[in-house]
């Protein structure tokens, strides 16, 4: 029983990382209706920036804050320069832009930092807390704390500030938002900035568990897609719940379904994506696509 609980907690730790990347996907989808295939690569690039800061001797947490600020600005810039021109264009055009961004960011990271793997410092101490037969690593706890704090801040922003209210207005009815005087263009850029920031958190948290290299996020992105599909692409809370569920499912499958093992684990998100699309395409928390009057 303790072993089972332990697996769940480990799963939540992994799930928190998927949740933050899924949240980034959902934010962009809500604001611009774009499925951003480059979200993982943007997170990877942010992680390299953090690595660069720490490699220069900067303390980790300062590097984190600076990286998040740079990511925020970078996300806004991408929206202004790349996404704005294709706003309202055919869906395929937008998909191509986001795939192009994927390839470009990936190549740029390889060009700047090479494709050799790098060690990324783990900000959390190595030990573990033992209580009631459970052993929970500081690393897992740290991840849960950081992601929890980020989600909490986002919640405050969206629910309790005027800017957050404006952002939700733009996400639900951009036309009407313009009429009440919200600057929709800037709000969309703000959404991209926030998404890039939240995504960066997932990259920086996952990097110590993997190795830092330009393709680091490809697996995480698939899990994040599963999480967003499960929770519903139009529900930020759903994306978070979906991420946690996917993380736990993956960990349990790896531990208990012997035939799956660690090699086939990557199949778990794909099964989830397919299952959700077949049974409940709008996701657990999403609204069914009904025509609005």
């Amino acid at each position: 029983m303790a072993g089972f609980l332990q697996q769940i907690i480990e799963g939540l730790g992994a799930g928190a990382i998927y949740a933050s990347l899924a949240l980034a996907l959902v934010l962009i989808y809500q604001f611009t209706g774009i499925v951003n295939f480059a979200q993982g690569e943007m997170a990877m690039f942010s992680t390299y920036i953090a690595w660069q800061f720490t490699a220069g001797g900067m303390p980790f947490w300062l590097a984190l804050v600076l990286t998040l600020a740079v990511s925020f600005a970078g996300g806004m810039l991408i929206e202004r320069v790349l996404i704005r021109p294709v706003e309202g264009a055919h869906e395929l055009t937008v998909v191509i832009v986001s795939v192009g961004l994927f390839i470009f960011v990936n190549a740029a990271a390889g060009w700047i930092w090479t494709f050799l793997i790098k060690d990324f410092p783990n900000p959390f101490p190595g030990g573990a807390i033992e209580a009631g037969g459970l052993t929970v690593g500081f690393s897992t706890l740290g991840i849960l704390l950081v992601v929890g704090a980020v989600m909490g801040l986002l919640y405050l922003l969206f629910q309790h500030t005027k800017i957050g209210l404006g952002m939700r207005a733009v996400a639900t009815n951009p036309e009407s938002a313009r009429l009440v005087g919200i600057r929709v263009g800037w709000t969309l850029a703000l959404g991209w900035g926030l998404a890039a920031t939240v995504g960066a958190v997932s990259g920086i948290l996952v990097a110590p568990l993997l190795f830092l290299e330009p393709n680091m996020m490809s697996g995480v992105l698939i899990y994040a897609f599963a999480a967003a599909t499960l929770g519903g692409f139009d529900s930020p809370a759903g994306a978070v719940a979906g991420g946690l569920i996917v993380g736990v499912a993956e960990t349990l499958a790896g531990a208990y379904a012997g035939f799956i093992g660690s090699d086939l684990k990557i199949g778990v998100p794909l099964v989830i994506i397919l299952g959700v699309l077949l049974v409940r395409p709008q996701g657990l928390f999403g609204r069914a696509a009904v025509e609005r009057v």
């Binding site: 404006g166 939700r168 639900t172 036309e175 009429l179 009440v180 005087g181 919200i182």
Partner: protein, 255 residues
């Protein structure tokens, strides 16, 4: 049609000549599609002005042009200030509130959030709180539903919410696009009564686009008839009501 405009349609301007809104030779459209072909009209300070016209005449486009939502050529002046080609947020900041066709409700947001969004460009928290109260005075049903998602309101309640949202701006000019759309006649009449009260109590100038010409001419001081992107007739509500062609086309009887 031009002949008709020249003969009877030229805008004599509001009585007393105190024009609050002046639109001069306004052209607007969507891409290649030209919709407005040189609209001229004036609206007096504090008056209710009705815009009548058939489907597709460009009534919605005219309101969108006034609030900066479409690109225009020509001139729009509000109380002497030039509003031409200003973005919607700048126009809102000048006190123009626009209730769009279809109400523009933020469906998943609560009724209260919808109302607060109306005050988005305003500063001064205390005043905004006081205005929430004021709007509950006009629309008591909204107070009972403050925490509900706006999408759960009935059509009539949503239209009240839309007008309430517009009032949160403390507008000097209120633009209403077919407030009666989809509403029962009795609800529409109630709504127009409230608009009239708002106009009287707050001296808000109102431009209302309306298919229900009877109702619009009842509350309006003056009216303009828009056909295929041009004003073909302007005048006092009585004068418009007495016009033979208007009677045939919009009122359903012969004078």
């Amino acid at each position: 049609m031009n002949e008709r405009a020249g003969e009877r349609g030229a805008d004599p301007g509001p009585p007393g000549g105190d024009a609050f809104l002046t639109v001069t030779d306004l052209h607007a459209g969507y891409g290649e599609a030209r919709v407005l072909h040189g609209v001229n009209l004036t609206v007096g300070r504090g008056e209710i002005c009705a815009i009548l016209g058939p489907n597709g005449a460009g009534k919605t486009t005219l309101l969108r042009a006034l609030s900066g939502m479409v690109r225009v050529r020509g001139a729009v002046r509000l109380d002497g200030a030039d509003l031409t080609r200003r973005p919607p947020d700048a126009v809102a900041r000048r006190g123009v509130a626009h209730v769009p066709e279809g109400r523009g409700t933020f469906m998943p947001l609560t009724v209260e959030e919808n109302l607060r969004l109306g005050a988005f460009v305003r500063r001064g928290r205390g005043e905004v709180e006081a205005d929430l109260e004021r709007i509950h005075g006009y629309f008591p049903v909204l107070r009972e539903r403050l925490r509900q998602p706006a999408g759960s309101l009935s059509g009539g309640e949503q239209q009240m919410l839309a007008i309430g949202r517009a009032l949160m701006l403390r507008p000097r000019l209120l633009l209403l696009d077919e407030p009666s759309l989809g509403l029962a006649p009795i609800v529409t009449r109630e709504l127009f009564r409230i608009v009239q009260t708002i106009n009287e109590q707050e001296r808000t100038t109102v431009v209302v686009v309306e298919q229900n010409a009877h109702l619009a001419l009842d509350v309006a001081g003056r009216a303009h008839v828009l056909e295929t992107g041009r004003i073909v007739l302007s005048g006092s509500a009585e004068r418009i009501r007495a016009d033979e062609q208007v009677a045939q086309s919009y009122l359903g009887y012969r004078v």
